[in-house]
């Protein structure tokens, strides 16, 4: 039940989470915000970036901040599914009889760091499918529930593609967000070097527990979504399909396969969290436009024309937003998180100018 206390607690915990993560991770505010939003919304995150930009450190910090059991699985080509899920082993009991006993794999944790996930074979990658979606693991016909909350935070390197296995669409779809981790800026780089010269130790402290995280999720789920806003969100997802009735011109030209219904669910869930995080009690178009990039970019399959023209998924998402909202979207990456709901008031005066620029014209709008 949402009440004044739960709202206040949400705000305080958000502020505390960001504060603690900032102690370990310099910069990368957009990535941190995206990851936290996904975790509160109950989604898995795929972090893509070149080596050394802090992907693994961020995930480790999150494990500490949320005070949850954390497992790291280094994906390699010879990693087997059983190495992830666990397997039945033969043990002898006191009487000397041999029996099967399930030895849980590293997946039986709350936060899983699937490092360099694209280096494992599709067979091993697929071992995560059930865990990521149903939060259960089935071994030898026996399904076992995973601990809640459960997250898979995977990383992959976009550059070194030799000996890698691109994630199948089914697995990609199970990641709520795909976040691009950029190289740090000059000031951030100076801070990182300065900090690591003193100590490499991670100093982030627990900001909230798993139970509290689930409460935050429940609170965020109560955020209302106006019918028009919901329609816009679904139109946004549907517009990525070249064959749908809402297909955008960009999708028709560059997309072979659009986003699945999971994208719509993810968009709304994440938008609710973002709205509350930004001090609003309703989902706004701006939430959807910001979150469209991490939600949709890995769910679209480009066609040959897009590859030949080097058109990226983010470009197409930008075009779709522009087509639907009638105004050019800002930078693809989500804006930096505000620490708390109370400290993040909306700024109507500034945004008024933007509001005048374009008129929303997404499909199905009702007068």
């Amino acid at each position: 039940m949402v009440n004044e206390e739960s709202i206040k607690k949400f705000s305080e915990q958000c502020a505390n989470i960001f504060k603690q993560i900032e102690r370990d991770v310099i910069g990368q505010k957009a990535v941190v915000e995206g990851t936290v939003i996904a975790m509160i919304a109950g989604g898995n995150v795929l972090l893509e970036g070149v080596p050394g930009v802090g992907k693994t450190r961020l995930v480790r910090s999150l494990g500490r901040v949320f005070n949850l059991p954390f497992s790291r699985i280094q994906f390699t080509p010879d990693l087997m599914p059983a190495d992830v899920t666990g397997t039945n082993i033969i043990v002898k009991d006191e009487s000397g009889n041999s029996t099967f006993r399930f030895q849980p794999g590293p997946i039986f944790s709350n936060i899983i760091l699937a490092d360099e996930i694209n280096r494992a074979t599709p067979k091993t990658q697929s071992a995560l499918l059930e865990a990521m979606q149903e939060h259960t693991v089935t071994v030898m016909g026996v399904s076992r529930k995973l601990n809640e909350p459960f997250f898979v935070l995977a990383t992959q390197n976009p550059i070194e593609q030799d000996g890698t296995y691109p994630l199948p669409e089914a697995q990609m779809d199970r990641f709520m967000f795909k976040l691009i981790v950029p190289n740090p800026g000059l000031d951030e780089l100076m801070q990182i070097v300065d900090m690591t010269q003193k100590t490499m130790a991670e100093v982030a402290e627990a900001a909230c527990s798993g139970e509290e995280l689930l409460e935050m999720r429940a609170t965020a789920n109560q955020i209302p979504v106006a019918e028009e806003v919901m329609r816009y969100a679904m139109t946004l997802c549907s517009a990525t399909h070249p064959d749908s009735e809402c297909a955008s011109a960009a999708a028709k030209k560059y997309v072979r396969l659009g986003a699945s219904p999971r994208a719509g669910q993810a968009l709304i869930s994440a938008a609710k969290v973002r709205a509350l995080m930004h001090g609003r009690f309703n989902v706004a178009y701006s939430d959807l436009n910001e979150l469209a990039y991490p939600v949709l970019r890995h769910r679209m399959k480009m066609n040959f024309e897009a590859i030949a023209a080097r058109v990226q998924a983010d470009d197409i998402i930008g075009m779709i937003i522009e087509e639907l909202s009638g105004k050019k979207p800002e930078k693809a990456a989500p804006a930096a998180a505000e620490p708390s709901a109370e400290a993040a008031p909306a700024q109507p005066q500034e945004e008024q100018a933007d509001g005048k620029k374009g008129k929303r014209k997404f499909f199905g709008r009702k007068e």
Binding site: P224, V225, A226, F281, A284, Q347, Q349
Partner: protein
């Protein structure tokens, strides 16, 4: 909710009326222009008032209909408009949740009301589409132009629409040729291009010395002619005959006009017998003229025009004195020689 939006309702309603009015003006002006054009085209002068009345009626009807069917602000429309001022869908959500009594809905309303306080009604600028303004402007200019055309036509400065749109057949011209033949010439414009139905310039058949005009080839006996109401091309030539000795006797019976061609071919010939002074010297004129009407010297074949003209003048005056009429050709011929006939 309605109370909350009341101050914004008036402004958005005014905007709605403005939008509807612009569209109404566009349609009204278009109707006026079309009706006015049709009335002008059929030269129906009173049509401008019908067009004006029709345009005003249509503009009013369209304005009212558009406002009530499309532009009258509803609660959601106001909420949507306010959200566009940077309220991030707080208003539309509040409008949808107005009957929801859950805590989160109440907090949402509270948050929305708080943000709404930062928005003054004046921040809602009137937003009229450029398309409607340009259409209204274009049709308005067209309507004004048609009004001006109507006015100028009424003042007679412009031809009527029916005249402009269905002009008469262009004027057709025909060629009229007055040709001469042996024994004389034709004085005046011999080749004339005249409009169908109009008259030709007068020409005169002038006989050479020793010749006399007989008639034109189409039977006209007057040496001077000007054809009226010409309908088709005409080619005629003057016919002359050489006078033989003794022909002067025949002239007694001739009509005065018939021999009019015996006038001098060239008035500049001061030495010719046609000079009025010639009549006073020598007695050639009198000798060959009044006594026996012999106007040709039998010895040298010279024609005594002075005598001839005097005879014609005398006959003409007698005709006039007796209350009769003389032909226009003869009158023109004599007046050219003697001045105005009394």
């Amino acid at each position: 909710m309605q109370q909350l939006f009341r101050q914004y309702y008036n402004r958005i309603a005014r905007e709605g009326w403005l939008k509807a009015l612009v569209w109404g003006l566009a349609v009204g002006c278009a109707v006026f222009a079309v009706v006015a054009f049709v009335c002008w085209a059929v030269s129906f002068a009173a049509g401008v008032w019908i067009a004006l009345g029709g345009g005003i009626a249509v503009a009013a009807a369209v304005t009212v209909a558009l406002y009530f069917l499309k532009y009258r602000p509803t609660t959601k429309a106001i909420a949507r408009r306010l959200d566009s001022l940077g309220l991030e869908e707080r208003m539309i959500t509040m409008a949808e949740l107005q009957k929801d009594e859950t805590y989160i809905a109440m907090r949402q309303r509270e948050d929305a009301r708080e943000k709404l306080r930062t928005v003054a009604p004046k921040q809602i600028s009137y937003n009229v589409s450029a398309l409607s303004i340009s259409l209204a402007g274009s049709f308005g200019a067209l309507a004004v132009a048609m009004g001006i055309v109507f006015g100028l036509t009424a003042m007679g400065l412009l031809p009527g629409g029916s005249e402009v749109l269905t002009p008469e057949d262009p004027t057709q011209f025909v060629l009229v040729v007055y040709s001469d033949s042996d024994g004389g010439s034709v004085s005046g414009e011999t080749d004339q291009m005249v409009a169908v139905g109009s008259d030709t310039e007068p020409v005169l058949a002038v006989a050479d010395d020793g010749y006399v005009f007989v008639q034109w080839s189409d039977g006209v006996t007057e040496p001077s002619r000007s054809d009226t109401n010409v309908q088709e091309p005409l080619f005629v030539f003057a016919e002359f005959v050489e006078m033989e000795e003794g022909d002067g006797d025949d002239s007694d019976s001739a009509e005065p006009g018939d021999d009019a061609s015996d006038m001098p071919a060239d008035e500049s010939e001061s030495t010719s017998p046609s000079d009025p002074t010639d009549g006073e010297d020598g007695g050639n004129g009198s000798a060959g003229g009044s006594a026996n009407h012999d106007y040709v010297d039998e010895g040298n074949g010279q024609v005594y025009y002075q005598e001839l003209m005097d005879k014609y003048y005398e006959l003409a005056m007698e005709q006039l004195a007796s209350g009769g009429e003389i032909s226009d050709g003869l009158r023109a011929f004599l007046e050219a020689y003697f001045g105005s006939l009394a």
